[in-house]
């Protein structure tokens, strides 16, 4: 394992590399390819600047996420995008780093209100495939000086550069959390209820649904409100009014742990294969009820008001699709990606056996011109093709 402790050492390590590198921080998100010399950024670590009055933090890419969250908590602030912890879902251990959050553009339920990781990220330092240390963006929250490579690097899974430092804009952390919930709704009513809530002025900061069986039995829709306590209570009551046509909604204060479970997709911890799907929310009922469920037994969880679907299969569900579970999973994978091709959006295989990952395109295939641009960018940023080769097409 190559373990540089500074950006300079990191750039030397990349410059001197003679073959492919497998780049990781805490290696908790299943990103690092199996092949290649392991290169860990975990020791390029530490918060170098935190100005609560400017809502800004700058840290080494290897800084543990928990270290950052603890520092912010002390000042009553937070990362707006609520990054998920992949460990429960993927069964990984290790320490999630802030660089890993950025490399995979990891967000959580608050993404629908506060934007994703890429929206809060305001600066990066990284080492390209030549071993050259580069910077883009900075530490101020409004910056249009030159091209925005900050967003390009976010979600590029280490294929364009190895992150050494990241900067974020922050938000004050709310005093109180409240949840308005509806039970027993059908999938289409649940999606419609979330749309009604998100279309109201009451600043819903989380909208998730666990679909039920047989037209909604056992389903739960959860809508989160955050802010000053009085304001949360007021908006909860208003929201109950907005949702009246969907039935009586419950309102309760608290519920942070439920949202952590939504964020980390706890309910799918026992699934063998998991897909993450970004879709227009109103397309969800038809996709699942007409396109997927009649042909594939699988479970689904909705977040981001339906804009995000987690689809999961356990061993038994895969066995029901085909005698060969890899074949069954590959068929479901193909069905999800072709559906997204038609309606718009994308399906990514997040968890699955190596045999499946090496057989199917993990990421949603892109249109031909974009494939050309992606190939061109990789050749420019990493001419030797040594940065996490084999992932992202």
């Amino acid at each position: 394992m190559i373990e540089p402790t500074t950006e300079l050492e990191l750039s030397e390590a990349v410059r001197d590399a003679v073959g492919p590198l497998s780049i990781r921080g805490g290696n908790t998100r299943g990103m690092a390819p199996a092949a290649g010399d392991p290169l860990s950024v975990a020791r390029v670590s530490g918060i170098s600047l935190y100005e609560p009055g400017a809502l800004t933090i700058v840290a080494g890419a290897g800084t543990p996420l928990s270290e950052i969250e603890d520092a912010l908590k002390q000042e009553g602030q937070m990362l707006p995008f609520e990054p998920m912890d992949h460990r429960p879902m993927l069964g990984t251990d290790g320490t999630p780093t802030i660089g890993g959050v950025v490399a995979a553009n990891v967000s959580g339920p608050r993404r629908l209100r506060a934007g994703g990781c890429r929206d809060s990220l305001i600066g990066v330092r990284f080492v390209d495939g030549r071993g050259v240390a580069l910077k883009n963006g900075g530490r101020v929250m409004k910056n249009v000086t030159g091209y925005d490579l900050v967003k390009l690097l976010s979600g590029s899974y280490g294929t364009l550069g190895v992150l050494s430092e990241v900067s974020f804009k922050l938000l004050p952390k709310h005093d109180a959390t409240g949840v308005v919930s509806l039970h027993g709704l059908s999938l289409s009513d649940g999606v419609a209820a979330m749309a009604a809530a998100l279309g109201s002025p009451y600043e819903v900061s989380g909208a998730a649904m666990t679909p039920g069986v047989d037209d909604g039995a056992g389903s739960v829709v959860r809508l989160r409100l955050e802010g000053f306590e009085n304001s949360v209570a007021y908006r909860g009551a208003q929201l109950q009014g907005v949702l009246k046509k969907f039935g009586a909604a419950d309102m309760a204060m608290g519920g942070e742990e439920d949202w952590r479970a939504v964020r980390d997709v706890d309910a799918f911890a026992d699934k063998t294969c998991i897909w993450k799907i970004a879709i227009k929310a109103s397309d969800v009922p038809q996709m699942l009820e007409t396109g997927i469920w009649p042909n594939f037994g699988c479970d689904a969880l909705l977040d981001w008001g339906g804009g995000l679907i987690w689809v999961g299969c356990d061993e038994a569900q895969l066995a029901a699709i085909s005698d060969d579970p890899i074949e069954g999973a590959a068929r479901l994978h193909a069905a999800l990606q072709s559906y997204m091709q038609v309606v718009g959006g994308h399906a990514t295989l997040v968890k699955g056996p190596v045999a499946l990952k090496s057989r199917v395109p993990v990421f949603q295939p892109e249109a031909t011109p974009l494939v050309g641009l992606a190939t061109g960018l990789r050749a420019q940023f990493d001419p030797r093709g040594i940065l996490n080769p084999g992932i992202m097409g």
Binding site: N105, V132, K135, M141, L152, K280, G376
Partner: protein
């Protein structure tokens, strides 16, 4: 400001080019008359002017594609133009370029309240995007000062901001999808009504690329439900330092105002004469606005007033009704116009860490004395996006040059304290040659390599963003090859 010498080969192509463009566009969509092309000789950076070879006004994505294909084949530079409100010269032509204006692409394609987006053609003005949805209780959040005139195409090119970024973000945070035409005429769809990119974040890269990577013809934009209400409070202080400390304390206290605006004495005096907003006599004025229901507003403003009072304000005034709120905003909204009435001015938009506000304002005051030009400061204090207005006399020989020199010093100062050259206006030609102050050569090189991928012949808006000396080998190589 230096511009590349026009290519005689391209100048000689004019009649052939115009004929080819007329083959694919209606007659009136190709403007080649030397008087009419002067309409396109500059944008809002009026100090620099140059009529283009010709201008085209396509009315569909297919027409844009046909135009670009021809220009690509002929090796002719293209300068995309929204409404021409760029303060940075983003739409300034060269004599050997074709202006591609998107003004005729101004329709609404789709509105969807369940999924909270609107899909528009990009020649549509910013304000009319909100106009299309506000009767149904929604709005489009980015609100640059020029929103009455500026086009979404330009907003995307420059990643425009506005007064309400602190809460709602800038263009890139509100852009879900685009249809874009590449320089060779290829049409690509990126993103859509869903959130987040599947592969690389193409949207993030395109937004703010100043029309150098492609021409965006359609945009899917996030719309938001209008808040229940909003109310401002006005706070006057004896010094910039105190006002800066107050801003920092408000942010630290956990309130997130939708806007924190700042005006200094110079601006206040002019605005008071012009708009009679009834502002107090003070060195630094803050307008802080919060949103929500009446009781939510009371709670937030209560906290803000408490913090403000600790800093011993000259005046602390809360709007009691809509009329008073209007008066508080009146002066701020008319500030640029009022300053323009008394003088020519150059408006900069460097951004700094909020903690450096007092230091930077003090240095700007010193520079003002050194250069002998007055400066007014009016800006978005919550996000550190400065707007120093340097007053000069355009009719006095040499004054513009002194003003530009002083502007450069202010922007260098912004970078020195950890900020950047431009927070929302873009680089264009105005800050092009200062890019070396903020970026090392290799940081600029990697950005130019991105352009190499999208536009290998460097035909799209080629003389912008990068210092001419840095981009020369790429542009000149093209001329030689063509």
């Amino acid at each position: 400001m230096e511009m590349p010498k026009p290519d005689p080969r391209v100048l000689g192509l004019k009649s052939k080019l115009v004929a080819r463009l007329r083959d694919v566009l209606p007659h009136d969509a190709v403007i080649d008359d030397e008087i009419q092309t002067r309409v396109y000789e500059c944008d809002a950076l009026t100090a620099y002017k140059c009529p283009p070879l010709c201008a085209v006004l396509p009315a569909s994505t297919e027409e844009v594609s046909a135009v670009l294909k021809i220009c690509h084949q002929e090796g002719v530079p293209v300068v995309p133009r929204g409404s021409g409100t760029s303060l940075a010269g983003g739409a300034l032509p060269t004599a050997d370029s074709v202006i591609l204006g998107v003004a005729r692409l101004n329709g609404v394609i789709e509105t969807d309240y369940d999924n909270r987006f609107i899909k528009v053609q990009t020649g549509r003005t910013n304000l009319s995007v909100t106009g299309a949805v506000e009767s149904d209780g929604f709005f489009y959040a980015p609100d640059p000062s020029s929103q009455l005139a500026c086009a979404i195409a330009g907003n995307i090119a420059m990643n425009s901001g506005g007064a309400h970024c602190l809460k709602y973000g800038v263009t890139t945070n509100n852009l879900l999808g685009v249809k874009m035409v590449m320089m060779d005429g290829t049409i690509v769809d990126i993103g859509g009504a869903h959130m987040d990119a599947g592969g690389y974040d193409w949207l993030g890269l395109i937004c703010g690329s100043e029309g150098q990577l492609g021409v965006v013809t359609e945009a899917t934009l996030r719309i938001l439900p209008k808040p229940e209400g909003a109310r401002p409070v006005l706070i006057g202080y004896k010094s910039a330092e105190i006002a800066g400390a107050c801003v920092s304390d408000i942010i630290k206290a956990g309130v997130l105002p939708v806007a924190i605006e700042y005006m200094d004495r110079k601006v206040l005096e002019v605005v008071e004469r012009h708009a009679k907003a009834g502002y107090p006599d003070c060195e630094a004025l803050l307008i802080v606005e919060v949103e929500g229901s009446p009781s939510e507003i009371d709670e937030q403003l209560g906290l803000i007033k408490q913090i403000a009072a600790k800093h011993d304000p000259v005046e602390l005034r809360e709007a009691k009704d809509a009329a008073e709120a209007g008066r508080i905003w009146l002066g701020r909204k008319s500030a640029f116009g009022a300053m323009g009435q008394i003088n020519d001015y150059m408006c900069l938009d460097g951004t700094i860490p909020v903690s450096s506000l007092p230091h930077v304002l003090r240095r700007i005051g010193e520079l003002s004395k050194e250069f002998g030009l007055e400066v007014g400061n009016v800006f978005h204090a919550g996000d550190g996006n400065m707007h120093p207005l340097i007053l000069f006399d355009a009719n006095k020989p040499g004054d513009l040059e002194i003003c530009e020199e002083m502007g450069a010093e202010i922007l260098k100062l912004c970078v020195e304290v950890g900020g950047c050259l431009t927070g929302e206006h873009g680089v264009g030609i105005e800050k092009r040659d200062l890019m070396n102050v903020q970026f090392a050569p290799e940081d600029l090189e990697v950005q130019m390599r991105v352009k190499d991928v999208f536009d290998p012949a460097w035909l799209l808006n080629p003389a912008k963003v990068f210092p001419l000396a840095s981009s020369e080998s790429r542009r000149v190589q093209v001329e030689a090859a063509a």
